[in-house]
Symmetry: C2
Subunit: 319 residues, 2 copies
């Protein structure tokens, strides 16, 4: 019965919009008898959704938390909020859920109506200014890549290699991985007949989708481990521009005040520690460290010391 299914979904939706409904209210809304509502509630319960009911004059039905998450029925505004939230989470503003966020984002974007997609990107763009993290990546691109991995779709794109040479790549993507600082795409390069790890911020232009891809399992089975190993063996990795400072603060205290995703803290004697950036240093790193209210000393690279001097000049003039 198509009507029944639709009604069950509508019922679930109503129960998510408001906490408490009486059977009569629900019956009116869905234009069926109260008895049918009772039966529908039973059906939902038998499907595993925990609907509680209380009798009496203040009674009613209420959907509560159960073992499984019921299908979420979001209105337009809520869907936009979810998408935007996932984008920022994917951008690395939260500890360890970047990859999951991208996965969820891929799922959402696949079914997101266009009008909402426009609203999402409008909001997303407005936020770009104060980024704290590594290289800025387009969340749309991430979602596209993740979807291609999931769906087994070929991808073609232009890629700028480490030597700044641009080449056209034809790939069968396997996984999208976040190193804690940068995003990587692990894929099988069909021209080179081997696996390659691509830095996503070095992908240029539009990514085009090809036909069906063969499924590949990354060597070793664990994409994250594979990327890590690739970065190690290929040398350079992210090491190029790491910033390091010495701080007059015991390491354990510093660790509490500096998120691990942001920098690594090594003790340097009892009273001091060395803080290293993940990936290339950026001026905001310097500034955050200065804000921690402990004496600091720039160790490397010289450019950071230079930046410190520039900031000093700027702030000195301001005060």
């Amino acid at each position: 019965m198509i009507q029944t299914s639709a009604r069950l979904l509508a019922l679930l939706s109503l129960l998510q919009v408001r906490r408490e409904w009486t059977g009569q209210e629900l019956a009116d809304r869905l234009e069926v008898g109260p008895r049918t509502i009772r039966r529908d509630v039973d059906k939902l319960r038998s499907l595993g959704y925990p609907i509680e009911a209380s009798p009496g004059v203040a009674g009613g039905y209420r959907l509560s938390a159960g073992g499984e998450l019921p299908p979420l029925l979001l209105d337009d505004a809520e869907a936009v909020a979810v998408a935007v939230g996932l984008r920022t989470a994917a951008a690395g503003s939260i500890a360890g859920i970047e990859e999951t966020s991208v996965r969820a984002l891929a799922k959402l974007e696949q079914v997101l109506p266009n009008r909402l997609r426009r609203r999402v990107s409008a909001l997303g763009d407005a936020t770009s200014a104060f980024g704290v993290e590594g290289p800025r990546i387009d969340a749309d691109l991430l979602a596209t890549l993740a979807a291609a991995c999931r769906d087994g779709v070929r991808l073609h794109f232009a890629y700028v290699a480490r030597d700044e040479k641009t080449s056209r790549r034809n790939t069968e993507p396997c996984a999208v991985v976040y190193s804690g600082y940068r995003w990587y795409l692990v894929a099988f390069d069909t021209d080179r007949q081997d696996f390659r790890t691509f830095r996503i911020d070095r992908i240029r232009g539009r990514v085009r989708e090809g036909g069906r891809a063969h499924r590949h399992t990354v060597p070793g089975g664990d994409p994250a481990a594979y990327v890590k190993q690739q970065l190690r063996t290929s040398g350079a990795g992210d090491r190029a521009e790491i910033g390091r400072i010495r701080m007059q603060l015991p390491a354990d205290i510093a660790r509490k005040r500096i998120p691990a995703r942001y920098a690594t803290v090594e003790p340097d004697g009892e009273e001091a520690c060395v803080v290293s950036t993940r990936g290339a240093w950026r001026r905001d790193f310097l500034v955050w460290m200065a804000l921690l209210d402990a004496p600091i000393e720039v160790l490397e690279p010289p450019a950071m010391a230079e930046a410190a001097r520039a900031l000093v000049a700027r702030l000195g003039a301001a005060a």
Copy 2:
């Protein structure tokens, strides 16, 4: 047929997990004949979900974006990612969707299994260190208040008024409002028999839920406007410690680089502008402004100039 409804939901779920399925695959998964799958697809289409199909050897079914968002079927990890993303969005890290995020969060938290709720709060706590925002608010509290407004539930809580006196409040909540800097609860105070605006960061201890509340409409109808007006008439407002700097950058360019949630930008001639914090100034405001690479000048308060000098000393020593 309960089975049919369940299968339709499962079908929707499968179509969200992977992009392309052949009818046979779906039939195997759902343990029905291919003909039934075709019929189910038809049913979903007639319910408004745009399922595309392509014939041929590389064909299959695929759920695409339509006019309506279909029910989202998230797995555990994705649900956690969504919840965490909504929390940060609610915490004000995105421009204008704080209130919507809270609404969506309230919806999600109502049905979120406990085991996931624990994971969400664990992740949320890990992020607290480098906050950029105004007073820190517990996202759970926000969700609770928003849910109470939505459901018409009485709330009892301890509140610290502006004169630092704590009182016990019995309220019928109407709306949760974000000023761009602080969160407020508009509610009808049943003891005082009038509407009150509560700063949510001044609510102390646990919030207890009471019975059913009467529905009230905020005077004037628009909660946001009401809060604004209250803040104006009650004087003080957030004005206490606002920081202002002059920046050698045209206002329109500065606006693009400074999120509106973070500060307001007023032109000051053609080539310069005045940037004011929302709410009390904080040292990181000063620093962000310095990072924008334009000459700046602290206008007020003196304490900020003092902080600038301290930072200069710190950074000067570092370089």
